[in-house]
Symmetry: C2
Amino acid sequence: MKPVKSVEILAVPGIPLVRKDDDLARLIGEGVERSGIVPRGDDVFVLAQKIVSKAEGRMVDLATVEPSAEAIELAGKIQKDPRLVQLILSESVRVVRSRPGVLIVEHRLGFVMANAGVDQSNVASPDEPQRALLLPIDPDGSAARLRERLWSRFGVPVAVIINDSFGRAWRRGTCSVAIGAAGLPSLMDLRGMPDLFGRELQVSITGHADEIAAAASLVMGQGAEGLPVVIVRGLTWRGTDNTASELVRPAAEDMFR
Amino acid sequence: MKPVKSVEILAVPGIPLVRKDDDLARLIGEGVERSGIVPRGDDVFVLAQKIVSKAEGRMVDLATVEPSAEAIELAGKIQKDPRLVQLILSESVRVVRSRPGVLIVEHRLGFVMANAGVDQSNVASPDEPQRALLLPIDPDGSAARLRERLWSRFGVPVAVIINDSFGRAWRRGTCSVAIGAAGLPSLMDLRGMPDLFGRELQVSITGHADEIAAAASLVMGQGAEGLPVVIVRGLTWRGTDNTASELVRPAAEDMFR
């Protein structure tokens, strides 16, 4: 007797360091081909946010940032570099919480997250320590464009998720979520499906792309390992495709911001 | 060239419906043996909360619940069954948010969650519609006991996670998290690990068991599928084991309750 259902999470080895204007779809395609992995139609390609941002030129030299009076004042309160705070504020629509060392904002895309996703690690060599990396301008759009390229290259309708590590309310430790997605239901509505006893399921809208993002993160690892492209294979889902923006709870229905 | 790293998520088929006082470790062991899966030392057994709760007799007949005046008043405001609200309040230390249809509490174990995890779906046959299932009394303890039994049965030091679907602040859709764990670092501290360029990682404490819980949820599925036991194979981790209680952010450092 065999397991009835299994999912594989495969790291694509040998993805080079990504730089501005690199053709990311090509780098991924070549990496996959070198690995011997043959993509299938149900494969979900999960890409670390940092490689998408880097290819899209979202690296900013902090020396070019002129902090506003607001950024300087806030930076003093929370003990951060005023130029970094300026970048964070520029990426945000409002500050949700701040205290020394912590700045949680509502990102312009609706994500409630630390530092608007602006990241100083894994973005530059030690010779260039003054850079920071912003989220992609439009991660759902990036995912859709990359999906089209990968679909075209491999001839099968793969899905794409761009993931990033987020802190959470109420729980310690980061957990990866989907900030961009194409080709699958990011938010999956199971309402109306019967439960084991034919009663309608009660809690039945799942953050499907977020669970895939978290699963991929287990293989991507952190730090020196650097495996920013992962394929999640063998998933089944139902419902129509929707983007990662569907995972953002609108402010009007949010009780915690 | 082969993928350098991969993780498999295997559903254990044929786990029977679990009832009070069932020997859950034996049911899981027998299911695994029938499946042909041979457990390895790095396997993480992820168990759906509902089967642990059921085996531990945490099903409550609503007809036996006498709602307090407080429960009756709150139930009127939020339009829920007063007996269910009584159960939720009995499992909680305080109400965090309430509005019609929504009751978010701090569970006695510290989890900030809807309905204190009290679940009416997938818990009874249509002939017995008046029951509700509570979380295990001590999910970390349950995970540790089950781990010991599975380790003994299979001769390898497997890890165990008990998962449950939680709603999140700021994001739509549920995502599974770990409510109990044994044999692995639930909260994994990567501080001090160098990033790709030798700089210390900035965001580097991960909710490791939560990411595993979410990954397993992709295979467990929902509703009629009923695959409550999943093995996550091929993970590597570092650091000392700690329980799922480590994932609960203490109220004193929480900015959102």
